[in-house]
């Protein structure tokens, strides 16, 4: 009875696609590549800083899916990094599991925890999830401190083996940088694909108007849950990567400061963009080094630099680049 308009209209006039390259966005990727390339060439301290930045980029990519693509708030993503990190640490030391197996187990634990928090709270209207995530961040920290028989409390766990599959291990600075760069690129590629898929559009629909999304048949609570699970999964992986790169884990590693740092990275980089988490993590990690010579005024200079970026690029660096490309294409 109901026929699709496509079957009754005489001809389809497809939209005119512009073929111009998104130059500004390409420039953002080029700058990121240059920064990572610098660290690869010079190694040493630069390699350490950039390795941490890349691990953060993984964490921030998850936050970006939940906050940027789906417009939801979570303050407790560090909890999932902790679950991933401690699972990897315990399983690869005490139980001598290979890194990939430990990381996978951590991922499963994180997803179960995220589901247990997200399933009940995401069906309620209001900010119950944000509150619950704040709580879980603190609870996970307490568990890491108190459950000494497994986590060794404040002492932490050391002697965690490096990243590796079978006989291949990433031990040197440069090997680690290469592995992390590949991980970050794969995730960016995945986010790009998600953005232009049915799933990604349902994220954007929930972000735009929950009421309208529901009217089009989208299950809003389930969509938010999927997004939250993705964010938790990426946080978990970043936690595992961290403990293997550093070789050591303690409760402080996954504290509230991690969430605050990640928030500034996602905003500086550009909420809801593909390149944002990487460039944001790189810039926020490098800036303190740039100002290190300034001694007392170092923190102030760092703060001012972040604020200036947000004033002149309110959508973040990749956000402004994207808007620039869109204007050129129009």
């Amino acid at each position: 009875m109901t026929s699709s308009p496509s079957t009754t209209l005489p001809e389809a006039r497809s939209a005119v696609q512009t073929t111009r390259l998104p130059l500004a966005t390409a420039a953002v990727w080029a700058v990121s590549a240059a920064i990572v390339g610098y660290a690869l060439i010079f190694g040493g301290y630069a390699a350490t800083i950039i390795s941490f930045a890349l691990i953060y980029a993984v964490f921030v990519s998850g936050l970006n899916v939940f906050m940027g693509l789906t417009a939801q708030v979570s303050f407790g993503q560090s909890a999932f990094a902790a679950i991933g990190g401690y699972s990897s640490a315990v399983l690869t030391t005490t139980y001598a599991w290979p890194p990939l197996a430990g990381m996978s187990a951590g991922l499963v634990f994180s997803l179960l925890a995220a589901w247990a928090i997200g399933f009940p709270t995401l069906r309620l209207k209001g900010h119950y999830l944000a509150m619950a995530t704040l709580a879980i961040g603190l609870i996970t920290y307490e568990i890491a401190v108190e459950w000494e028989s497994v986590t060794q409390g404040y002492l932490g766990i050391s002697g965690i083996p490096p990243l590796g599959i079978g006989p291949f291990e990433a031990v040197s600075d440069r090997q680690i940088l290469v592995v992390l760069s590949v991980v970050v690129l794969v995730i960016a590629f995945a986010v790009k694909r998600i953005q232009h898929s049915r799933l990604g559009r349902s994220f954007a629909a929930v972000a735009g108007s929950e009421e309208a999304a529901a009217t089009l048949g989208i299950n809003v609570a389930r969509t938010k849950l999927v997004s939250f699970l993705l964010a938790a999964g990426l946080a978990s992986i970043s936690g595992s990567l961290f403990v293997h790169v550093v070789g050591y884990v303690s409760p402080e590693v996954f504290g509230l400061h991690m969430v605050i740092l990640a928030f500034s990275m996602v905003y500086i980089g550009g909420l809801g963009t593909v390149a944002g988490p990487l460039i944001g993590a790189l810039i926020v990690s490098i800036l303190p080094e740039v100002f290190r010579g300034m001694k007392d005024s170092q923190d102030l200079a760092y703060g001012i630099a972040l604020i200036l970026i947000l004033i002149y690029a309110p959508k973040g660096i990749a956000g402004v680049a994207g808007a620039f490309d869109a204007r050129r294409a129009a």
Binding site: M1, P5, S6, V16, R201, E211, L216, N219
Partner: protein, 251 residues
């Protein structure tokens, strides 16, 4: 002709105010039915109750004979009932074409796996969505702005886009809340043609409208509300000359 939608004794109040008061009518499965009435008469509230956006205090909503009174909006959409909003609710971060593609949600499938690995069936579905979205944008005259972000479209085009997006669900009944509000004469004419086309393709249309000319032009049936009550129901000509209706509009 059989009724696709039956509203029986629908009632909804806000505090002491009875916004929709014991309203009953049915919508035939073909043609255009209009709901008119002065500002504050309860038209939007009636739509909200029908679409499940808010709950009713009393009464029953039947869709194809099935009691859907307590269904959520997404469940009603799955049953073929889709609405637009008086205050446009587009997905601002998406382009016009992507907004329409969200409308295919119920007609397509695929989650994370399809997004990441893009199997052949998912790519075929995506191409099909692309093409059908282009057709729908053409229907409402928005082909030129397909790749433009919804947030920067002029208001009239946003309204038309919302209709195209609703049509992507292939509804069997489409509810339009004041679709002509904010449209210029040319867009209004475009809208009237699109609504006639939608009805001719077999979708029942229920529309709230202030623009009397539009209502008289395209409606087969008119329901008149005043102070939450139904005061008249009939053909445009009959309603136009109804003393109760004249009193409500003039008095």
């Amino acid at each position: 002709m059989s009724a696709i939608l039956e509203v029986k004794n629908a009632t909804r109040s806000f505090g002491g105010l009875v916004a929709v008061n014991d309203v009953s009518f049915s919508v035939p499965s073909r043609g255009v039915t209009a709901v008119i009435g002065p500002n504050g008469a309860g038209k939007t509230t009636l739509f909200n109750v029908i679409a499940g956006t808010i709950s009713a205090n009393g009464g029953t909503i039947l869709l194809n004979g099935e009691d859907v009174t307590d269904f959520k909006p997404e469940a009603k959409a799955a049953k073929g009932l889709v609405r637009t909003f008086q205050l446009v609710k587009l997905f601002q971060d998406l382009t016009a074409a992507e907004n329409v593609k969200v409308g295919f949600h119920l007609k397509t499938h695929g989650g994370l796996f399809a997004a990441l690995f893009q199997p052949a069936w998912a790519r075929a579905a995506e191409r099909n969505s692309e093409k059908t979205a282009a057709d729908l944008l053409d229907l409402v005259g928005l082909s030129k702005v397909a790749q433009t972000s919804a947030s920067i479209l002029p208001y009239g085009q946003q309204r038309l886009l919302e209709i195209a997006r609703a049509l992507a669900c292939q509804p069997s009944i489409l509810l339009l809340d004041e679709p002509a509000a904010g449209l210029n004469a040319e867009e209004s004419e475009r809208l009237a043609r699109a609504i006639r086309r939608i009805a001719a393709d077999g979708t029942a249309v229920l529309l709230i409208e202030h623009d009397m000319k539009l209502v008289m032009d395209i409606a087969d049936d008119v329901v008149v509300l005043d102070y939450g009550r139904k005061i008249a129901h009939g053909t445009p000509d009959a309603v136009r000359n109804d003393p109760a209706v004249l009193a409500a509009y003039l008095g």
